[in-house]
Amino acid sequence: MKNNIRFTSILTAFILLSLMILATHDAFSRRGGGGGGRGGGGHSMHRGGGGGGHSMNRGGGGGFGNGGRGSVKYSGQGSRNRGGSNVQRPKSNVAQTRPAQRPSTGNRPNNPGNKPGYGNNRPGNNKPGQGNRPGNGNRPGHGGNNSGNFNNNNIKVNNNYYGGRYNNRYYGGYWNSWGGYYSGWAFASGIIIGAAIASIPQDSTTVYVQGDTFYYSDGVYYAEKDSEYVVIPPPEGAVVTELPSSCTSVSGVSGDYRDCGGAFYQRQSDGYKVVSPPVGAMVNNLPDGAQKTDVGGQTYFLFAGGYYQPFYSGNSVVYKIVSPPA
């Protein structure tokens, strides 16, 4: 008895499966006949997972079709097939399948199949409580400026801490060209260069550069000064083993460089070394605090000794680090 039931259900399952296979193919080979085409099980909107790819930081996107976005014809080009060779416009094969003479335009008859009406008679449009959501009128805007809104509370800023020493010996003009922030630093807490704090993070590591001792934690460097610690720009030559996750890789130059909000690191066997901004590197965003400057009729943005020249890459703006203009 038990076997019989199992047998029957398995058999039924197979029959149903077979019928479904037939039905699915029919529905799609007969272009929506009987209303089967629309949304019928076959076409799932499956979205593969995948990481990497496009970060929100990428300058452009969203707007015009960069790299063919928003266009069928150019979709395969752009970053994939840049400089594409298929500029030729062969007359499509499909042309052959088209009827030579189409009936004159006008009101096309509805497609066969008498699909049930959309919109008009659908039940369930009377969900309660719509339309009267309170209080959405006055939310403050979140427009665009997502970067740079750091929380600066609790940090004492005092640039007087820097006697001539830091300025001259380590940073020279470099110091002054740093903006106020580590813009690539974690969003959770803002750290301003020049800020003085009583204690450094517990996970700080010690970094030695030319005989001087600094402390490093999550992208930020500290120097000890009068029983306090002050935040300093990344000292060139310092080697650290870990970078903040917000650092991005850099294109346009050979070698493994990372951009941590305008502080550049080059990967080497024992970690990441602080380097000056590599000429030729392209970045999608300017470091916060970069200063616009015009030299010889050309606009640059200056930050930490690096000259950033803006370019259009497709419809997006990228910044290329160039040699200091004469």
């Binding site: 080979s29 272009r31 085409g37 929100m56 996107g61 960069n66 395969g76 752009g78 606009t299 703006v317």
Partner: protein, 266 residues
């Protein structure tokens, strides 16, 4: 034991019949659909698409609005939908103006025969390129050299049908569909890098109601959607509509020429 073997035999039989029937159904009963082994576009879908193409080709000038949504995939794999609106004006054979205002950026582009100007108001940057003197040649040129396509390039092309069919491999009519209260016919196509769908008005002229493009080769399979409205096929556009309107202090920047693979281009 006997029972199980029996089940398998029956199952095998049923499945074979199913496939045999299916194969039979695929036999060339309709010669029109069997012309080519690779490109299979339902003639009705092709016809409706060409009807739309003809309507756009016939218009010497036109304007339309679009509401655009576009997926951006975060590094985590999560898709975020970005949206914006765009106004487009086209005067054949070689004038285009478009302004996109979106969540994260705004773009304005003017194309008038020999040059194209792209302006980004929030950064106050603009760039100018010398261009070929027809719209389609310009669009090919922009993509080939600068990795840049004009908005809704397929729709504003001189021959939208040919433009989209260059890469399309299959297509069919899904059925009728309401888009913003208008009766439209829903078509679905596949191409090498994208699957795309278009909704075309059932009224005359057969203008686009909606376009959806799914980038199946990109991480996260992002989707682009444009919903069309306010079509005007006789807007009487003046030349000044295509003349760049830039603030005095806008900063001119160069385009990277990817074909030459160098960082500047004059």
């Amino acid at each position: 034991m006997v029972g199980i073997r029996y089940i398998f035999i029956i199952a095998f039989y049923i499945l074979s019949s199913a496939f045999a029937l299916h194969a039979q159904a695929q036999e060339p009963t309709d010669t029109e659909t069997q012309n080519t082994s690779q490109v299979i576009v339902d003639p009705e879908a092709a016809e409706i698409l060409e009807e739309m193409s003809d309507a756009l080709e016939a218009a010497k000038e036109f304007t339309f609005d679009t509401e655009i949504t576009n997926d951006r995939t975060l590094d985590s794999g999560q898709a975020i939908q970005i949206s914006g609106t765009m106004k487009t004006a086209v005067k054949r054979p070689n004038h285009v103006y478009a302004k996109y205002v979106g969540d994260f950026n705004t773009r304005e582009v003017w194309y008038s025969g020999d040059k194209l100007t792209l302006y980004i108001p929030d950064k106050d940057f603009y760039g100018v390129l010398k261009t070929p003197d027809t719209l389609d040649a310009t669009m090919d040129f922009l993509m080939e050299e600068y990795n840049f396509s004009l908005p809704l390039a397929d729709v504003i092309s001189a021959d939208p049908y040919t433009s989209v069919m260059e890469t399309t491999t299959s297509g069919f009519v899904v059925g009728d569909s309401m888009v913003r209260g208008k009766e439209c016919t829903h078509l679905a196509f596949r191409a090498q890098y994208v699957d795309w769908q278009i909704w075309i008005s059932n009224d005359d002229p057969a203008l686009p109601c909606k376009l959806v493009i799914e980038y199946k080769e990109l991480e996260g399979v992002p989707q682009y959607q444009a919903i069309f409205s306010n079509w005007n096929l006789n807007p009487k556009l003046s030349k000044s509509a295509f003349k760049p309107d830039l603030p005095k202090d806008a900063v001119k920047i160069d385009f990277i020429n990817f074909k030459k693979d160098k960082g500047d281009d004059k």
